[in-house]
Symmetry: C4
Subunit: 210 residues, 4 copies
């Protein structure tokens, strides 16, 4: 009896995109709240101030890392939604699950930065990235299955979207595994390199214009 | 004399949708602020860190619950607005009342999580859900009465939207009543089950495609 | 020489509306952060919890008042923007000034609630409302002067928009003046009544359909 | 092999604009959180309250300055995006870098306000403005190079957009240099004057209508 409601619910792509942009915007700025000017009482000259700035730099780096991670998945989600005709209730809920993980990302990044030498912290961070990838992959499979994608979508684009997630997640999983054989620093280094590649790579001239 | 202004005020559905998405986005991420990495001084090895993570899990659960509640009503509001031609001043104010209750939801969820064994906490939480449903129901009745819905809306959809709210709210009210005959844990368990049904049900294949 | 840039800058109404909705959404939810569950240690039974809830109610009222004030001006700004063809650089900056005052509103409401018996608190609150009205009035005058309004706008609508602001601000100013002859409680009571009228009035059947 | 994905990723101007408006909205309201009503215990009469208000005014000024800086670059980004046909992956990442700097702006403004007499604080603030200008300039060069701008864009507009950034940044750099020859107060005064010019100038009648 409720099927009728479920058929008409959650169809607006615009609303889904707008909610996503709102949640991404808040999640991307949450960690700025941790950047605070040092107490004026502790600063007596310019030298003290330079030192206070240097002491702030790990937080700034962590914030950049969180921003970059979210940027990668913002581009990924957008690319999917651009190829849809409309949404439906199931797809809206998959994206709500995705957005939930998005909103957790600043926490797990801060958690990793605080306990960088411990494997559980790395595991939490990797789990976060894995869940972002999984929900996004599942969303695409679902959209393909229920024919929400634009009818004229070339099949190679559908494949490219899936392949990108699988390849990316394989690299992240490999990076996470490094902490068993080597240590967490190798893991983080590898994961950040993969992320930097995804963020900067397309800017290389000749590729982005291809 | 002011009627003339009231006739032209608050007609933009796009603005109403955008404000709603903004308020939902902020409300959905508010409780992440309570997820904080444990103090580094208290963590001496990986075992401590696992324990700290387990200690954080009730807050994470509570956050998920708040996110899910808001997700249900976000889908509900969107479904209504999708079927309107435009808004007017009255409808804008009904939705502003709805959004006010939306922004209170993280508080009442946190309140329930903190005092889970006390009936006033459950009552506050249930009142919150009741107000979300009531404003949304009232908004639909108003939109139908002032002919803001699309002229080609099939009457069964209009009925489905009202029926869904009434059935949902009946279940929530029944759940809330359980705390009188049994205790608050039964109430919460029942309400969460109803919410999970509303969030996950349409994903069952065969129904969402019907 | 820079005129050429100024001629093309800030023309997007959509961007102005989206930024406005974002700032309104954040401003409208800022005061929720002050609603916090009471410390669990101080609550030993349901009676304590009821008392803690009652103790929270002034903050909730203050939050409602801030939400309602912002709602009134959100509707007002939206009504203006709905009648424009495009924006320009000057109009964008007038609205940025308006949005600055919007973002200050939660502060001045909290300030009034905290020092309700003192006239400076009332003056700050009234100044806030005055600035909201002034920037909005100025924005309309500017849009009319630089022909940004839709060419088919009936002149009575242009007049209705200006009249509404002038009448509203006159009532608020009268309310503020009451604190000189009577006291601040009379002022606040009068201002809240005016706001309630603006928020609820159009819902009266027969007028909103007129 | 991943080129295919990069070709289709990040093309939505609407999403980019919406994320930008969200991040600007949050960044523009972040410093309001520092405006807090003084402790009620310290206020015994209206005179105390006036003094507390005066004590709050530097924070309010700092907040206005941060709001104005962000407003200038919001208008600047919007002006660019208005002239594009679509985005691509590279451009999205340049704007994500721009938005990262946007979200840092409240921090560097607060930092400057706290340590106004020290040159490192001024350097941080100027670096922030420089990065905002640089990313925006780079974004325009990139959009021109990869033909993302509307094909009918008059060349003088393309030049006007670049010239505005270069002239603005030259003034800011000159202002920053003043702290070497004079002191930081001269630098700040000069920079604020330049910003005020950019914010208020086009409102001068006769120019905005030209």
């Amino acid at each position: 009896m409720t099927t009728s409601y479920n058929q008409i619910a959650g169809q607006s792509l615009e609303r889904l995109a707008a909610l996503s942009d709102g949640i991404f915007a808040v999640a991307m700025t949450l960690l700025v709240l941790d950047l605070r000017a040092p107490a004026a009482a502790a600063i007596h000259n310019e030298h003290d101030l330079w030192r206070a700035l240097v002491a702030l730099s790990p937080r700034l780096l962590m914030y950049m890392m969180s921003f970059m991670t979210l940027g990668i998945f913002w581009v990924g989600q957008q690319t999917q939604l651009n190829h849809l005709v409309r949404s439906d209730r199931s797809l809206s809920w998959i994206h709500l699950a995705f957005l939930f993980v998005v909103s957790i990302t600043p926490f797990s990044t801060a958690f990793l930065a605080e306990f960088i030498q411990y494997r559980p912290a790395l595991l939490v961070y990797w789990l976060n990235i894995l869940l972002l990838g999984t929900t996004l992959y599942f969303s695409w499979v679902c959209a393909m299955g229920t024919r929400l994608v634009k009818p004229d979508l070339p099949p190679e684009i559908a494949i490219a979207i899936k392949r990108r997630i699988v390849i990316g997640q394989s690299f992240y999983a490999f990076g996470a595994l490094l902490c068993i054989f080597l240590n967490t620093y190798w893991s983080i280094g590898f994961i950040v390199l993969v992320q930097l590649y995804y963020a900067i790579a397309p800017r290389i001239p000749g590729r982005s214009r291809a």
